[in-house]
């Protein structure tokens, strides 16, 4: 056992430790100290990021619920709202990738459930070290398995996500999950406790010793180190119970039995109860002896902070307790009254006849000290000198090897392990720019995507933030969807270091500028900081999850070429550059700054063209440049093409350069005049046609040809090949 004072062992600073007695008017008990330490952790209190997050645009005509509840929600018409949130489970996934990633899915689903919404789509954003590392291969493969195992069993289709491998994530992998749900406007639930005297019902799994971090320090002082060692701190997911929880809670919600509703996530009961109390300006009185336990004899602090999964806490009317129990029993779930709402504003926990905690709830949730970050601005790098990048001797070979890169090749190995269809509403399946999911029982649909451009954020954080948000919006628009809401997960290194703080502030500024230009509000999100080891810090990785809307699901556009003889066009004014590109493979140079007007005009054009039925295919030009985009449209559609690329400075840059607003589309020849007219100020350049069974690309006077089979083999082998 360490000699440090208890508060230090629990991760509280000396000044935080001094603040607590002033807030509660006496010295905290060890259990209370632990509750503060968890609630005031960065994960729960956002103490380093709160001021930064205020920058995000969060309002808009469609916003029904902005940040502050378990998930945000926007109107999609017809009385229906879409709820969304992205969340990280980085650290648990690094410790135990299968369970960490699985419980990450479970947690984000319960956030959606907590606002009364039915989960209809899952996505995930993954970042690991290079697959040449055995550790990264293990983490990646197990995390994917964990996500699949959990998501498949709960019957929510996993329809999208992204994967990137880079040495910068070798020591700190990122596993972010996003869930999207639907709920009627009038059926949205809040976590705010309402009426004193109302019982609190704990629903779902029993409480065990999962994910007890700080508590084991406390408990070990009492029980001796040997026992502490036996305590698993890994949460184990139980997707079968989660499925029952979803079915059961939606049934309870449909009968209007919830007054307030909340999931138990990080810091377990402590966080759930104090948030309910603080949000509603009420108190909660909880009797820990009533909490159903998996093992006898758990000490109070452990019960208070256990992170056992698949649990929800509901405020219900006294007269409804019986009915709630009946429904839960049918679903084979425990439903136990563990306390009631009070008017004291305090979170009071009793155990074996004693009060073990009695704290003003707001002290836990709102009074954590907020630390302004101290950004230390960095000089922006100069654009790379093209002469310093060796030109490939064999362009065709370079093209094939690009297809074979795990960062560019097909993600099929991953999404084939996910049930992306369950529910029979997946109109556009994974493998394209965004997935399209029909709204239950309706003709309209939502498109969903997650995106991030970490290398760009590293070299030029503000521009990288913009590029990230615009890419997400462009991906939605490629299906014909109009972006309506975003959620984000800010994955960063240690913000107490000036350069990281600067990147955080600048990225958020860039994201905000782009989202304002797009008219897309941020309605929820999450922050994951300190993703660094002594050897490596991650790139700034602001994952953006975005939802768009399509009026008519039948008009959704896909990335694959569809008919021989169709014309291929390049839309947009972006200029490809190798700076910070996948081709370069390094965060060096300075990609062109996204132009908001061009981006918005292109997105608008795509949506209108899809609506008018002018597009046969549309595919965003992103990682790997136009060479990748054109090959993917050909492989996916099972049709070759002949295109001539606009010439710039050098053939490899023309082929593999990235950056700016560019989209590869195809259309029937008869649709061309309409499309050109609609394009207006947006550059629309016909570059070839769909034909044959090879991809023929003419670049700087040289013609390269790649058979569809050879292209597909390289593309499909990228990830399985690297894992073999």
């Amino acid at each position: 056992m360490s000699d440090l004072p208890l508060h230090r062992q629990l991760g509280l600073t000396d000044s935080e430790n001094e603040l607590i007695p002033r807030l509660i008017g006496r010295d905290p008990s060890p259990a209370e100290l632990m509750m503060f330490s968890l609630m005031w952790s960065e994960h729960c209190s956002y103490k380093h990021s709160k001021p930064v997050l205020r920058r995000f645009p969060t309002s808009g005509e469609r916003v029904l619920q902005g940040p502050g509840e378990n998930a945000g929600a926007v109107d999609v018409g017809g009385g229906l709202a879409v709820a969304l949130k992205v969340e990280s489970h980085n650290h648990p996934s690094a410790v135990e990738p299968f369970e960490g990633a699985a419980t990450g899915v479970g947690g984000i689903v319960r956030d959606i459930l907590a606002v009364g919404a039915k989960p209809v789509a899952l996505l995930n954003s993954l970042r690991f070290g290079e697959l040449s590392s055995a550790r990264s291969r293990h983490l990646f493969a197990r995390a994917v398995k964990g996500i699949g195992t959990y998501g498949n069993c709960i019957g929510v289709p996993t329809v999208g996500g992204e994967i990137m491998f880079d040495d910068r994530y070798e020591d700190s992998c990122l596993v972010n999950a996003m869930c999207v749900g639907v709920v009627g406007h009038g059926d949205m639930l809040s976590c705010a406790a309402r009426t004193p005297g109302n019982p609190l019902v704990l629903i779902g799994n029993r409480t065990g010793r999962d994910g007890i971090g700080g508590a084991s320090i406390l408990a070990s002082a009492e029980l001796g180190d040997d026992d502490a060692d036996k305590r698993p701190s890994v949460q184990v997911g139980d997707p079968f119970t989660e499925r029952k929880l979803i079915d059961c809670c939606l049934e309870l919600a449909a009968e209007g039995l919830f007054v307030a509703f909340q999931d138990l996530g990080a810091a377990g009961l402590t966080s759930a109860a104090s948030e309910m109390a603080a949000k509603g300006g009420r108190g909660l009185d909880i009797d820990l002896d009533l909490v159903p336990l998996r093992e006898e004899g758990m000490p109070a602090p452990e019960i208070l902070v256990s992170e056992s999964q698949e649990r929800m806490l509901a405020e219900v009317l006294p007269a409804d307790v019986q009915r709630v129990r009946e429904i839960c029993t049918r679903w084979q779930l425990d439903a136990t009254v563990i306390g009631h709402v009070t008017d004291t504003g305090h979170f009071v926990a009793r155990h074996r006849g004693e009060v073990v905690a009695d704290i003003p709830a707001a002290a836990l949730t709102d009074d954590a000290p907020v630390y302004g970050v101290e950004p230390q601005s960095q000089a922006l790098p100069a654009p790379i000198d093209l002469a310093s990048v060796p030109a490939p001797e064999d362009l065709r070979a370079a093209w094939v090897s690009m297809l074979r890169r795990p960062n560019l090749g097909s993600a099929r190995w991953v999404y084939q392990q996910y049930d992306h269809l369950v529910g029979a509403n997946t109109i556009v399946r994974p493998g394209g720019d965004a997935a399209v999911v029909r709204l239950p029982g309706r003709h309209d649909a939502i498109a969903v995507t997650t995106d991030c451009r970490p290398r760009h954020c590293e070299v030029d954080p503000r521009a990288g933030g913009k590029a990230t948000a615009f890419e997400a919006a462009r991906n939605l628009a490629c299906t014909g969807a109009r972006p309506i809401a975003a959620s984000d997960c800010l994955n960063f290194a240690n913000p107490e270091k000036g350069p990281t703080a600067w990147r955080l502030v600048e990225v958020v500024e860039g994201l905000s500028l782009a989202l304002e230009a797009l008219g897309v509000p941020v309605v929820s999100g999450n922050v994951s900081l300190y993703n660094e080891s002594p050897a490596r810090a991650i790139y700034p990785t602001p994952v953006v999850g975005m939802v768009g809307r399509i009026d008519n699901a039948g008009k959704a556009v896909r990335i694959g070429f569809r008919n021989d003889g169709d014309l291929v066009l390049l839309l947009g004014d972006g200029v490809p550059r190798l700076d910070a590109s996948e081709y370069l493979g390094r965060a060096e140079g300075r990609p062109p700054e996204p132009d908001a007007d061009e981006e918005v005009a292109l997105i608008d054009l795509l949506i209108r063209a899809a609506e008018a039925g002018l597009l046969e295919s549309a595919h965003d030009v992103s990682d790997g440049g136009i060479a990748l985009a054109v090959t993917e449209s050909a492989i996916t559609g099972g049709r070759g093409c002949q295109v001539t690329l606009p010439s710039g400075r050098r053939a490899d840059e023309d082929l593999f350069g990235e950056g700016g607003a560019r989209v590869l589309v195809s259309c029937r020849p008869s649709a061309l005049p309409g499309l050109l007219e609609m394009a207006g100020m947006v550059n629309a350049a016909p570059i070839g046609l769909v034909t044959g069974d090879e991809v023929r690309v003419t670049v700087a006077g040289e013609t390269l040809a790649l058979g569809l089979d050879e292209a597909r083999d390289a593309y499909e082998a990228a990830i399985p090949g690297a894992l073999a």
């Binding site: 699949g148 709960i154 019957g155 079968f240 499925r243 999404y415 029979a424």
Partner: protein, 211 residues
């Protein structure tokens, strides 16, 4: 015609299966695992996909012992139509209503993708009226049928390749009488042009028809 869709804790595809029945011109009702009888007026039974009881122990094993299964057994015994999809197929095998067992996929991973099937036996009351082939998705972790193909009435086979490693590329079987059919692929995900295929519709028409 009224089709009873049987639900267990962990069933996932009951709503989409019911929609497929409706798309095929039938009406759908739900039956719960604890019910002793099928809903009044039930003409046919559909056991949908999902992870009943979390696939614990063996997929379909725990659900196959639920009270409703006695009613399903009586219905099948009287010649009534029963269709089991994916987990429903596993339940029917575990219940002894269909021959064989479903083992983990040869890849040992969940597989979600579109496949092509050959209709190997179009003479059962459930498969007649189907084309010679169909395009449908599979999505399962334990979908490798294991059994004696000579002793079973094989109704569907994977075409071209055997994606899950089942005996003799079997994708679905019927009982001897042909009124109970189970298959791993998901015809309810192939009843709407927007989903990419409507090849699953004839199966639901047969299930929901009086002929």
């Amino acid at each position: 015609m009224s089709v009873a869709v049987v639900r267990f804790p962990g069933s996932l595809d009951h709503d989409s299966a019911a929609r497929a029945v409706v798309a095929a011109g039938g009406t759908a009702t739900f039956a719960w695992q604890d019910d002793a009888e099928l809903p009044p007026g039930t003409d046919a039974v559909l056991i949908p996909g999902g992870f009943s009881y979390g696939d614990h122990l063996r997929p379909g094993a725990i659900a196959s012992r639920a009270p409703i299964m006695d009613a399903v057994r009586r219905h099948a015994g009287a010649g009534g139509r029963v269709l089991g999809i994916c987990n429903g197929f596993q339940v029917l095998c575990e219940a002894g209503l269909l021959p064989g067992a479903l083992r983990p996929n040869a890849t040992l991973s969940f597989v979600c993708r579109q496949v092509q099937l050959d209709v190997a036996d179009g003479s059962t009351i459930l498969t007649r009226g189907m084309g010679a082939t169909m395009s449908v998705p599979i999505k399962n972790h334990d979908g490798a049928w294991y059994g004696d193909p000579a002793a079973a009435r094989v109704v569907f086979r994977y075409r071209g390749e055997n994606p899950l490693g089942s005996t003799d590329a079997v994708a679905g079987v019927a009982n001897a009488r042909g009124n109970v059919v189970g298959l791993m692929p998901h015809p309810e995900e192939a009843v709407d042009p927007l989903l990419g295929s409507t090849d699953g519709l004839p199966l639901f028409r047969a299930l929901a028809s009086r002929a």
